[in-house]
Symmetry: C3
Subunit: 384 residues, 3 copies
C-alpha cells in the first residue's frame, strides 16, 4: 500500500519543499489525538529544519511553518476563519504569501469542504494526508490527497505513518521519526504490515501506548495550543531522561483519571442482549461522567467498550449525551455512514448528522429527537 502511495507522497513532498524555497507559509492543521499529533509533528520537524538550513532569516521558521490543532475531526469553519484572518493579516502587514495548507488526519470528508473552499477562494492550496474513508467531492478541491483507501489500503495506515514517510522525503536528515510512526500505530490500534514500525522504534507496545496516552492527556488540557515545546519533549526530541519522566507522570495521571471516570461510568451502563445475540451497551455520558475532565466522552466510551468486550464477543457500545451518540463496536459488521443516511430518512427533521469510520463513529441530532434516534439505532443493531 505504501508503495502505491509513493508517487502521491513524492508530489506532496515536492510541493512542501517548493513552498519552503519560495518562502510561502505552510499551515499544518491536524487532529488533536495521538495519531494526528504524530503526523503533524513529523512534518513540522522536517519543514522547520529545512527552513533553518535554507532561509537566511533566523526568525523565518516561526512564521513559515505553523502547526495548529483541530479539536473536531474535520476542518471546522471556526478554524478556517482564524487561519484565514491571520494569513491575510500577514499578507497585509509583512507581505507574506497566501499559505499552503496541509490537513493531517482530517480533510478527506464532506464536512471539510466548506472550510477548504473558503481558503481556496483566497488563493491558498490545500493538501490532505488522511486515513479516514474519503468522500468523493472533496478531491475536486485538493491539490493532493494522500489516503490509503485510494490504493486499496485501509485505515491501518495511520496519518502518522503517512506523514513520517513524507517527512523523510522532504528532509532525510531528521532523526527520531520512527517513534512518531510507532506511537500513531499503537494509538490508533492499527494492525498488519504497519506493525513493523513498532519494531523499528525500539520501544515496547506499552511504552508507545504510554507516550500516546501522555500526548492525549496533555492535548486535552492544551485545547487549541500546539505547544511544540511540551509535545516535542514527550515525543523524544528533547532530553531523553526528561521524556521518560514526563511520559511516566502524564500517562500515570491519565490512567488514574480513566480508572476514576470508569468507576462512575460503569454504574450508568446498561447492557442488554438483543435477539440476534449482539450485546448492546448504552451509557448516559451527561449524567454519569464529569464534564470538562479527561477522558472526554468519545475516549471514555471507548474505554467502557474495551472493558465490556472482554465478556461480550459481539458488542456495540453507545455513549449518548443530549444531542450526540458515540458508537464503538466489536465482532459486528457495523456500517455507521449507512446508518446515518437511513436515520436521516427514518427520523425526519431530527437534524441527524454524523460519520467516522465503518465501525467507530458518532451521530448528532437535536435533543427533542434523541429518544427516537436512539431507538431506531438500537433496532438497526438488533436486525444486523
Amino acid at each position: 500500500v505504501l508503495e502505491g502511495l509513493k508517487e502521491e507522497m513524492m508530489n506532496v513532498a515536492k510541493e512542501l519543499r517548493k513552498a519552503v524555497f519560495e518562502s510561502r507559509p505552510i499551515i499544518i492543521r491536524h487532529h488533536w489525538d495521538a495519531d494526528g499529533v504524530c503526523g503533524g509533528v513529523a512534518l513540522e520537524k522536517a519543514l522547520v529544519d529545512l527552513v533553518e538550513k535554507t532561509n537566511a532569516d533566523s526568525e523565518a521558521k516561526y512564521y513559515l511553518v505553523k502547526r495548529k490543532v483541530s479539536r473536531a475531526p474535520f476542518y471546522e469553519l471556526e478554524d478556517v476563519v482564524k487561519d484565514l484572518d491571520e494569513a491575510l493579516e500577514d499578507v497585509e502587514k509583512h507581505g507574506d504569501k497566501i499559505p499552503l495548507v496541509v490537513l493531517v488526519d482530517n480533510g478527506s470528508g464532506s464536512e471539510d469542504v466548506p472550510a477548504i473552499r473558503q481558503f481556496l477562494a483566497f488563493g491558498a492550496d490545500v493538501i490532505t494526508i488522511d486515513h479516514h474513508y474519503p468522500d468523493e467531492e472533496v478531491d475536486s478541491y485538493l491539490l493532493h490527497h494522500v489516503n490509503p483507501y485510494k490504493v486499496g489500503g485501509d485505515s491501518n495506515y495511520t496519518s502518522g505513518v503517512l506523514c513520517v514517510e513524507i517527512a523523510r522525503m522532504v528532509n532525510p536528515e531528521i532523526d527520531g521519526l520512527e517513534l512518531l510512526a510507532a506511537v500513531s500505530i499503537v494509538g490508533d490500534r492499527s494492525e498488519g504490515e504497519v506493525e513493523k514500525y513498532i519494531e523499528l522504534s525500539g520501544c515496547t507496545r506499552e511504552e508507545l501506548y504510554d507516550i500516546g496516552l501522555a500526548l492525549e492527556f496533555e492535548g486535552f488540557y492544551l485545547r487549541f495550543r500546539s505547544a511544540s515545546g511540551i509535545v516535542h519533549e514527550i515525543l523524544g526530541f528533547g532530553r531523553k531522561d526528561r521524556q521518560r519522566k514526563l511520559v511516566d507522570m502524564l500517562a500515570g495521571y491519565a490512567k488514574k483519571a480513566i480508572e476514576e471516570q470508569l468507576d462512575t461510568a460503569m454504574a450508568g451502563v446498561k447492557v442488554q442482549t438483543l435477539p440476534n445475540g449482539i450485546a448492546l451497551a448504552a451509557f448516559d455520558v451527561e449524567n454519569y461522567a464529569k464534564r470538562f475532565t479527561f477522558p472526554p466522552p468519545g475516549k471514555l466510551t471507548g474505554e467502557i467498550h474495551d472493558r465490556l468486550k472482554r465478556e461480550h464477543p459481539k458488542i456495540v457500545t453507545i455513549g449518548y449525551g443530549p444531542d450526540f451518540a458515540v458508537i464503538r463496536s466489536e465482532g459486528v459488521e457495523l456500517d455507521i455512514p449507512r446508518f446515518v443516511k437511513e436515520l436521516q430518512q427514518e427520523v425526519p427533521n431530527a437534524g441527524v448528522e454524523g460519520g467516522g469510520h465503518l465501525v467507530v463513529g458518532s451521530v448528532k441530532f437535536i435533543p427533542a429527537k434523541r429518544k427516537d434516534v436512539l431507538a431506531k439505532l438500537a433496532a438497526k443493531i438488533g436486525s444486523l
Copy 2:
C-alpha cells in the same frame, strides 16, 4: 431626518478627525450583525486612510484605529474591561493617549451605561452612533450621540447609513461606501427614504441581501474577531471577482444552514390563535435546534417568523430557551419595553430583563420562572 442629524454628524466627524491629527487611538465597537459591521467598516475605512495620509509612522494605522466586534446588543462589561486593559497597557508601554471610543449600532441603551462610565473614569470619551430607541440616562455620559429618534426619525435610518454619512465627512476620498449603506438597509429591512441607498449601490436587493447574509454567516464563526481582511473582501474593497465568488459561496452555505435548521425547528413550533385573532407561535429553541450552529437562536426565530407570517397576517413568534425568549411580531402593536416593565412587576423575583425595539426584542429570566413569564407574556399578547 438626515438633514436634522447633519450638525451632530459634523460634530462627530470633527472629533474623529481631531483624534487622528492628535494621534489619539480610536476604538470602533460595533454590533456583529450586517448593519453593525457596515457601520463599523465605513468608519474604519475613512479613518485608516486618513491616518495613512497624515501620520508619518506607517504602522500608525494599526494602533490608532481598532475596529472591534460586540456579540451582545450592548457594550458588555466583558468587552469594556478588555478594551480598557489594552488601552492602559498601550498608555504604559507606548505612551499612547486614552482612546476615543465610538459605539456603533449599540451604545444608546441603559445597559450600555456601566461600560461607558467605566471607560470615562479613565479619561476616555465615548460617542454613540445608533438607531435603537435611546435611553435618556445614557446621554449624560456621551460626548456625542447620533440617533434618528433624536430628530423625529426612527430605526429605518440604520447605523450603516449614519456611519457612511459620517465617514464621508471625515474623509471624502473613500469609494465604495454606498454599498455599505445599502447592505445595512436590506440587512435591517429598512423602509422609506433610505431605500435610495439601494439604488445608489447599483446592486439588486438580492445581491445586497446575499452580501449581508455572507457577513453574518462569516461573523458567526469569527466570533470576536473583526477580521478586516475577510470582511473587506466580502464588502467589495478587494478584488471584485473574488467578492462575487466569496459572497455566492458563503450566502449559499448560510441559506443551506438556515433551511436545515428550519426543517428541524418547524417540527417544534406550536401555533395557536388567540381569542383576539393574533396567532401566537412558540418555539423551543433548546430542544429543536442545534447548538453553536448558524443561524443562532435570534436569527432562527426570525426565519421561522418570516415563514409563518405568510399565512398569518397578525402574528407574534416567540423562540424560548431555559432562560430567555426572543420575540418577533407582524401586524401587531407590540411594545416590548412596556411588557418587560410589567413582567418585572407581575412575576416578581424572576430576574426579568430585556429590551430591543418596540416590535422585535428579547426577554431574560431565571429558569425557575420560565413558565410563569411565558404564560404572562402570552396573556399580554392575548389582550392586545
Copy 3:
C-alpha cells in the same frame, strides 16, 4: 504567628531577589478573589520595582515578572500547560531561563500537585504562599511553603498579609502595601491579631470592603486577564481621586447586582430546622440564579448565608447545581474535608471530590448521584 513564619518568608524573599538578579522570570499565579489579588499585586509591585532598578533593559519588567490569575482554587492543568508552553517558547526564542513559580492563595492542596509536578519536570521551582489547610504530600514538591498552619496559625493570616510581609523583605521601598493587607483581611473576614492591618491602612472597614468588592466585580468580568492597569488603580497605586471614583462606581454596581441576584435567589431557598437544632438552607443555583452574572454561585451562596444567619445562629447553607454544592456554615462544627472522605465511601461511584477550609468549601459529583450525595450530606449535618 508571623514571627514564626519570618524565617521561611525571608527564604522566599531571598529566592525572589536572587531570581531578579539572575534575570530568571518569575510567574506569580494567584487566586482571583480579593485576597489572592492583593497578595499577587504586593509581590508584583515589589518585584517590578526591583527589576526596574537593577536591570539595564527597560523592557525587562514585562518579561521577567508575570502576574497571572487562576479562576479555580487550585493550580489547574489548563493553567500550567499555558504557563509552561509560554515559558518554553521564551526559552527557545529569547534564551530565557525556566521560571520560578510563586503560587499565592493556592498551591497548598493535593489538587495542586499534578500541575506543580509538571512544571518541576521542566526544571522550574515552585514556591507556595497560602493560608488554606495544607496537604502533606505537596511539600515534597515545593521549594518553599509559607503557611500559617505550619506554625500553629490559621487562615486568619491571609495570603495578602503574608505576601505584603514578603514584598517588604524583597523591596522595602514600595509604599501603599498596608492597604493590600487590609483589603485582604476584610475581604476574607479575618479576625484577631491581623486586624491591626486595618488600622494601619487608615481606611474604614467599609472603605476596605468596597475596594475588595470592586476587585472581585472587576475580576469576574476580567476572567483570565490580570489587567494590572485597572487593578493597580483600584488598589490606590494610580491617581487617588480616580481610585475613589472607580471604587465607588464598581462597588455600587456590585452591590446592586448582589441585591438583584439575592431577590431572585431567596425565592429558591428552602430552610428546614433539623432535629439537632441546626437550620439547613438549600438553594438551587441553576434554576434560581442568572448564569454568567456577578456574583458567581459561590459568592451568591455566601451572600444568602449571610442574610440567613442573622435569624439562625446555627446554620449550614448549601447552594447546589447539577454537579456541585457550595457549603457555608455558622455556629456549627463542620469538617468538610472529613465529609468528603465519608461521602466517597458512602455514595460509591459518585465521583465525589471537594475540599476547602473546615467550615467553607465545596463538593463535586456526577449529576446522576446528586440526590444521594445531598441527602447523605444533610444526614451528616443532622447528626452533628
